[in-house]
């Protein structure tokens, strides 16, 4: 219950017009702070939601793969420059963003993550790493502006944001593969 309240508070906080405007005024904070925080708010709220819908999820997402696939689809969808642009210009897309990220990405993430095997988890992180390097390269080397609403410097910054995040993920993967927890635990 406390988690649900924290999640809800975070969700409401992110919805406040000045907060949303601040995050959306910079491309990198839009994609790398607002969006992940929306996912986190859904993740936190989902504890309560999942308990209610236990049976349905048990049937639909018993090994976690369908849920994580939905999560990935939503995440990838929101890294497409065009979707970000539309979220800024069309009210319906903005609403869709605030619904899809917490409830179609955050909630299934929580239900799926604990069900996945370690190999699957690392595979998902690996996919994100590759995707982040790819998106980083795209944003850094693209000569023209990919989003109508942001300047080229915003785009370049976001590109470096992707690259540095990808480097962090690589470090995590190296750690996960080189350190055997059973040596320590």
């Amino acid at each position: 219950m406390t988690q649900f309240i924290y999640g809800l508070l975070l969700y409401i906080f992110l919805m406040l017009p000045p907060v949303a405007a601040l995050f959306e005024s910079m491309m990198i904070t839009h994609m790398h702070m607002q969006m992940p925080m929306l996912v986190i708010s859904g993740f936190l709220m989902s504890g309560l939601l999942l308990r209610r819908s236990h049976l349905f999820l048990e049937k639909w997402n018993h090994n976690g793969i369908p849920g994580i696939t939905l999560f990935m689809m939503i995440m990838i969808y929101w890294t497409i420059p065009r979707t970000m642009d539309e979220a800024l210009t069309m009210q319906t897309m903005e609403i869709w963003k605030f619904i899809s990220l917490p409830f179609l990405a955050g909630v299934p993430l929580r239900d799926s993550w604990k069900k996945l095997t370690k190999a699957w988890k690392n595979f998902i992180i690996f996919i994100f790493t590759v995707k982040y390097f790819g998106m980083g390269a795209l944003y850094i080397w693209s000569e023209e502006s990919l989003c109508n609403n942001y300047l080229v410097i915003d785009q370049l910054t976001l590109g470096w944001g992707f690259i540095t995040t990808a480097i962090c993920l690589v470090i995590y993967l190296v750690y996960a593969f080189s350190v055997n927890p059973s040596d320590y635990e």
Binding site: L22, S25, M26, I28, T29, H32, M33, I153, L156, T157, W160, G161, T164, T165, I167, C168, L169, I171, Y172, Y175, A176, V179, D183, Y184, E185
Partner: protein, 565 residues
């Protein structure tokens, strides 16, 4: 649950017994003693220079022509905020690692010595140009002020030494964990791990600044330097360094002080959470030193202030934890009523009194820090004496007085000598003089700063301008405080070397408090340092990518080197 509690209790008894049997390992003690000796020599020299500065700014001492105010200021800053703090931290935590992990490994001992000499050589290379007045760039060495290249080579070696020591610490911790599967790292070693992780993270930034920007520029290989980027990299380091010294002091508050007052530690799980939170969120706080810098947009500054105030949260937890422990212990000793427990604390024991005053000083110091994190308020106090007052409260009291308090048991423990009642009394006197001196100095610095007196400026009457003459009484008080402080420095340094070489032989304990017996076991999550480091890196990436890209892509023309003194 009950079984786990029982296990906790037994583990506590065993670790107690083991420590009694093991005593101090002499070879490990030599390492820590060397670090502490350097630290306290630095205190003596730095304190002496501090007095010269204080007297100069009070208007009573005119420096001779061959001695430049900014040269002294550079040496004072470096000796105290870099040498004293770093050497003390390393000496203390290496003693802690040796004590709680059952001795240092031979190869770690070797690394500790290599690191020591690397740092010493680096230090000499830093100090010589300062003495020759070729590097009066102050401890922040902001470009475009340029020192002699040797100064920067010295800095590189100092950083390298830190990395060697961190490696040693990590090796010892990993070794212990392999041999104690599933156990939590002893709490002092846990703090040490956090501190060394932060040290590596912080120095990485300054290494990039010095190696890739300043050295090529000071050697003339490149003509200009990007001043904003250099400052940003510096403060990622400078801010974190100061917070590392603070975290070192905090470790003693959580682990040592409860034992000295005869109590138990605050909740183990939450203690570890505080350490992790401080490690993850620390480096990004560096931006609060650039609130007045141009070239960072307002929304970004706003977010950074948010990040840096977030560090306040674990600090508030610390304040709560300390008073909880004091109250619990005082009540168990029979303290009655709302405040009766307060009287039951061992006020006559310097090992308690000194860190207690240090903690109390953190209340105004922390409040001042929040003031400075606020854009509008910082406009008033930025680069004034207020700031100098602030960090003499945080460092000069909260951190350094805790270090002093530690020295009264750590040095005897390492030297197999005892803290005599006379030495304890000397320590109490020293603590009182230092407190009075620092309070006088810090309050008058804060006040002078509010009236506009600038920091880093040698004495001048501004052509007898009436407005600025009003600062002089306050600056006289600074001089009085500085004089008291030097007396306290001399007593402290005397105490340390006396306890190291001349005090009566004997055994004293390494005071590490145990946990409460009925405490729920700590989740193993806290030990997954690999994950915390990755989270820390992601937080850093989030905070730094935007401003750095902006500063590099939209850079103004760079600056050639200047010698301003």
């Amino acid at each position: 649950m009950d079984a786990a509690i029982e296990q906790n209790r037994r583990a506590a008894v065993i670790s107690e017994k083991k420590n009694k049997v093991l005593g101090v390992c002499l070879e490990d003690a030599r390492i820590s003693k060397s670090y502490l000796a350097v630290a306290f020599v630095a205190l003596l020299l730095g304190g002496l220079l501090g007095l010269l500065q204080g007297l100069n700014r009070a208007g009573v001492l005119e420096l001779p022509a061959w001695l430049n105010y900014y040269q002294i200021l550079t040496a004072h800053g470096l000796l105290l905020v870099v040498v004293l703090s770093a050497f003390f931290t390393i000496g203390y935590f290496y003693a802690g690692l040796s004590h709680t992990l059952g001795g240092l490994l031979p190869k770690v001992r070797k690394l500790a010595w290599i690191g020591f000499w690397t740092k010493m050589v680096g230090l000499v290379l830093v100090v010589v140009p300062v003495l020759m007045n070729e590097a009066s760039v102050m401890y922040t060495f902001y470009p475009p002020m340029a020192a002699h290249p040797v100064f920067y080579f010295g800095l590189v070696l100092v950083v390298l030494g830190i990395w060697i020591l961190a490696t040693g610490a990590f090796i010892n911790v990993a070794h212990w964990r392999k041999n104690h599967k599933g156990q939590h790292l002893p709490i002092l070693a846990f703090f040490a791990t956090g501190v060394f992780v932060l040290l590596v993270g912080a120095t990485a930034f300054v290494a990039v600044e010095v190696l890739f920007m300043i050295i090529p520029w000071s050697l003339g290989w490149v003509e200009t330097i990007n001043v904003m980027v250099a400052r940003t990299l510096f403060w990622a380091f400078g801010h974190t360094a100061v917070n590392i010294w603070y975290l070192t002091a905090v470790s003693a508050w959580y682990v040592i002080v409860p034992k000295i007052i005869g109590g138990t530690r605050w909740n183990d799980y939450l203690t570890r959470v505080v350490v992790i939170a401080l490690v993850i969120m620390n480096i990004t706080g560096g931006f609060h030193h650039q609130i007045v810098d141009p070239g960072i947009s307002l929304p970004i500054k706003f977010m950074h202030v948010f990040m840096s105030l977030a560090i306040g949260f674990p600090s508030l937890m610390t304040a709560y934890a300390m008073f909880r422990v004091f109250e619990r212990t005082g009540r168990r000793k029979g303290g009655k009523g709302a405040l009766g427990w307060f009287k039951k604390l061992p006020w006559g024991d310097v090992r308690f009194l000194s860190p207690f005053i240090a903690m109390a000083a953190f209340i105004p110091a922390g409040a001042g820090g929040i003031v400075q994190s606020t854009n509008q308020l910082d406009q008033v106090v930025h680069n004034t004496m207020w700031i100098v007052g602030h960090f003499h409260l945080t460092l000069g009291m909260s951190v350094v007085m805790t270090f002093f308090g530690i020295s009264y048991w750590l040095v005897p423990y390492l030297s197999k000598r005892v803290l005599t009642p006379q030495m304890n009394k000397l320590g109490i006197i020293q603590t009182i003089i230092w407190t009075v001196g620092m309070v006088i100095m810090a309050i008058s610095m804060h006040a002078a700063g509010l009236f506009g007196s600038p920091r880093r400026t040698s004495f001048t009457t501004y052509g007898d301008f009436a407005e600025t003459l009003g600062w002089n009484p306050l600056m006289t008080a600074v001089g009085i405080g500085a004089t008291l402080l030097l007396i306290a420095v001399i007593l402290q340094v005397y105490a340390v070397f006396n306890m190291m070489f001349f005090a009566p032989k004997g055994e004293v304990e390494f005071p590490i408090a145990e946990i409460e017996q009925d405490e729920a076991p700590t989740p193993y999550m806290t030990e997954r340092w690999g994950i915390w480091v990755v989270v820390m890196l992601i937080v850093i990436a989030m905070a730094y990518v935007l401003p750095l890209t902006d500063m590099i892509v939209n850079a103004p023309p760079g600056s050639p080197p200047f010698k301003t003194w």
